[in-house]
């Protein structure tokens, strides 16, 4: 296989019902490997921005972009260059932390990773962490030992660095 790479695809789509299904359905139908997909509003009210993380070689990527472009509700598609892209993911982690000692340790990690504790209960701490996906992975790894109750991740969202827009 020619260079199997993880691609960050940014797409502008009409903010209409069914658009996510059209895009996600295309990946299933064409047998493309989709790792995550995020959608949300953009700077324009009637347009949403999607960030799709997908794995494949150059040929697969070419097909993905071309097939996406064929969807009538898709306005623009770009494969972002990883080195010129800012990419962030949000993750919430609920950690089992029944004792003062565990709590202190978790908070310390969270500070090092520049996360926040956003909820506390006698049994748990909930951490919010925004950053690169591998950083989130690392934090999860660190706190795993205490017992993780729940994780919710958004999948990365991204845009080009600097003045460039898609």
């Amino acid at each position: 296989m020619e260079d199997q790479r993880t691609h960050i695809i940014s797409a502008l789509v009409l903010h209409k019902p069914g658009v996510l299904q059209r895009v996600a359905g295309l990946f299933t139908r064409r047998g493309f490997n989709i790792e995550s997909i995020t959608v949300g509003t953009s700077e324009q009210e009637e347009i949403a921005r999607m960030t799709i993380i997908a794995k494949g070689d150059g040929k697969v990527l070419e097909q993905i972009t071309k097939q996406l472009n064929k969807i009538i509700d898709v306005i623009k598609v770009r494969d972002l260059e990883p080195e010129n892209t800012v990419k962030r993911e949000l993750c919430l982690i609920k950690v089992h932390s029944p004792t003062e000692k565990v709590r202190a340790e978790v908070v310390q990690y969270v500070n090092i990773f520049r996360g926040h504790v956003i909820d506390v209960s006698p049994e748990t701490l909930t951490i919010e962490m925004t950053g690169a996906s591998d950083k989130i992975d690392a934090l999860i790894d660190l706190v795993k030992g205490f017992g993780i109750k729940e994780i919710a991740r958004t999948g990365p969202t991204a845009m080009s660095r600097g003045i460039k827009t898609i």
């Binding site: 069914g18 295309l26 071309k66 064929k70 009538i72 509700d73």
Partner: protein
């Protein structure tokens, strides 16, 4: 005005004069409004046939075909026809009824998620949530269906919206910011292609359905003659180039003509126009046109590089690109380089003239096709069903004009041929229309005999009756040790009696020489007619097994010049084809 009336008015504004449909509960308001309108409505006997008829209408005329069905089961019955149109890039607008907006999502009676269900088999689909949206949606639907790479569009119309009042505006504007088909090819790519073609010693053109859709048969002929490039076609490209022309190679692929398969194998430059390199056309991809630089012209950028790696991609409308290509080549005065190649191909073609005359009983399919060809004229529209009947026709029937050979290529839908013929005849009442079908496929849609009788649509149906699901039986014979699992159809029905029960004229043909006259007089009678043609079930079509290269043909390739010696013909053909 109410939503349904707005729909009808919008259809009228699009120039729609006929629709193929079937009513139901969720379409009662719309059908009530059709009652008062001038729209011609043809009641088919199964919704699948409404979609196929709209498809046949579109393929024969180049206009957008329209079909209508109710929600739920009506919509699901449309699906096969929509998928068929999608695979073959045929422009249809399918209108489905839907439960009232307040009930959507409640599993209401006859509710189905038509939008979700048709998303992967349409170019686009719409569901209005207020009647105000209807005029713009209809206009967008026709624009999307008929432009760029054509395809089906679905309009899902909730019952309450059909009745909701709106102020109708004739002059609606459509906004489709994500839809901008490229028409003009990139000038630099065209220049590069011109110089590649100009320097080629052994060029071949592969023409697909896109040539027909873009009306560029004239340009195709010009290019072929200008550079001395023989032309082969895909199944859907049949008719894009006159098949009796010196430079015609006939159809390429699994059931293609030997000279076509060999020429593509040997060529040094393949100019592919408006085709999508289906596996049925290319055979094993790694063996396909191995020694050739490939130029691919297509309006859909996603087709380029999808199946075959291409040296020079050109995205745009085939007519515009071919004209520019011809101009660029003429300016460079580069023609006549390939005369040696042309002569070699012509000589090879001479030794490969397929044998079509047989005086056997039961009738050999080749003889049947020959007699059909003799009974029809150049403008006759022939449709085929799917199976051996289709491949006999594709292989042996000489098509001379675009839009006269209609067949389900991509989806390979049994039951396509007869209803598509109905649509074609409605679209082109001046043309004769002949449907060729197998007995299996015809039985899937035989209820449409009622439609042709009721509306007096004079198509002639030739049922090639071998009492087998012939094509599947052929594969079982060749690849499954002759274990004919569930492909024998038994002795019933009597097709002549079946047709007569519907009040349709019918005849049976069993011996060589009979079909020509029976078919001619059926055509001239101006009445719908069924002809039951008893054929030899044991005749096998030569083919390239799946996964093999285009020249690895199995089955005896009968030609006028081989007197059925023991050597499989393609072995000697390989030698004669040279290097």
């Amino acid at each position: 005005m109410r939503g349904g009336e707005a729909l009808l008015k919008s259809l009228e504004n699009q120039g729609v004069d006929v629709v193929f449909g079937y009513p139901g509960g969720q379409l009662l308001p719309l059908y009530d409004m059709i009652y008062d309108s001038d729209l011609r409505h043809i009641l088919v006997r199964h919704e699948q046939c409404a979609a196929h008829a709209a498809d046949g209408y579109a393929r024969a005329s180049g206009k957008v075909g329209v079909c209508i069905a109710t929600s739920g089961p009506g919509a699901t019955n449309l699906v096969t026809g929509i998928a068929t149109a999608y695979m073959d890039s045929s422009p249809i607008v399918a209108i489905a009824g839907q439960v009232p907006t307040g009930l959507i999502g409640n599993d209401a009676f006859q509710e189905v998620d038509t939008i979700g269900m048709t998303m992967p088999i349409t170019k686009h689909n719409f569901q209005p949530i207020t009647s105000k949206e209807i005029p713009e949606m209809v206009k967008s639907a026709f624009y999307i269906a008929g432009t760029g790479r054509p395809g089906p569009v679905v309009l899902d119309l909730p019952k309450d919206i059909q009745e909701q009042e709106l102020d109708f505006e004739n002059d609606v504007k459509i906004t489709l910011p994500g839809y901008k088909p490229t028409r003009k090819g990139h000038p630099l790519q065209i220049k590069r292609a011109a110089s590649l073609i100009g320097n080629a010693k052994k060029p071949v053109i592969l023409a697909g359905g896109g040539v027909i859709i873009s009306n560029s048969s004239g340009e195709l002929l010009k290019l072929s003659e200008l550079v001395g490039a023989p032309v082969t076609t895909s199944l859907l490209g049949k008719g894009s180039f006159p098949e009796d022309h010196d430079l015609s190679l006939g159809m390429l692929g699994m059931h293609g003509r030997l000279p076509a398969n060999f020429a593509v194998d040997k060529c040094d430059c393949l100019i592919a126009v408006g085709c999508r390199f289906s596996d049925r056309t290319t055979g094993k991809i790694s063996e396909f046109a191995k020694g050739a630089k490939i130029i691919h012209i297509d309006i859909d950028p996603a087709e380029i590089g999808k199946n075959v790696d291409v040296d020079i991609p050109i995205v745009g409308d085939a007519k515009i690109i071919l004209s520019n290509l011809i101009r660029a080549i003429s300016q460079n005065k580069m023609s006549n380089k390939s005369m040696e190649w042309v002569n070699r191909v012509k000589n090879f073609k001479q030794t490969c003239i397929p044998k079509m005359s047989f005086d056997d009983t039961p009738l050999k399919p080749q003889q049947v096709i020959r007699e059909i060809a003799e009974a029809v004229d150049d403008d006759t529209i022939v449709t085929t069903d799917v199976g051996q009947n289709q491949m006999w026709m594709a292989h042996y029937f000489t098509s001379r004009k675009p839009k006269t050979f209609l067949s389900s290529g991509g989806l390979g839908t049994m039951g396509f041929g007869f209803p598509a013929a109905i649509g074609a005849k409605v679209a082109m009442p001046e043309s004769d229309v002949v449907a060729v079908a197998g007995d299996g496929g015809f039985l899937m849609v035989s209820q449409e005999l009622a439609t042709v009788k009721e509306y007096d649509i004079p198509v002639v149906i030739c049922v090639l009756d071998n009492r087998y699901l012939g094509m599947v039986a052929q594969w079982q014979n060749l690849f499954y040790e002759k274990r004919l699992s569930h492909t024998h159809l038994g002795e019933s029905p009597d097709f002549v009696k079946l047709a007569e029960a519907f009040g349709v004229a019918a005849d049976r043909v069993e011996r060589p020489g009979e079909l020509r006259e029976v078919l001619s007089s059926a055509i001239n009678s101006g009445e719908p007619t069924l002809i039951d043609v008893t054929i030899d079930p044991d005749e096998i079509l030569p083919m390239v097994p799946p996964g093999c290269g285009l020249t690895e043909i199995v089955g005896e390739y009968k030609t006028e010049s081989n007197n059925s010696e023991d050597v499989p013909y393609h072995e000697t053909a390989k030698e004669r084809a040279g290097d």
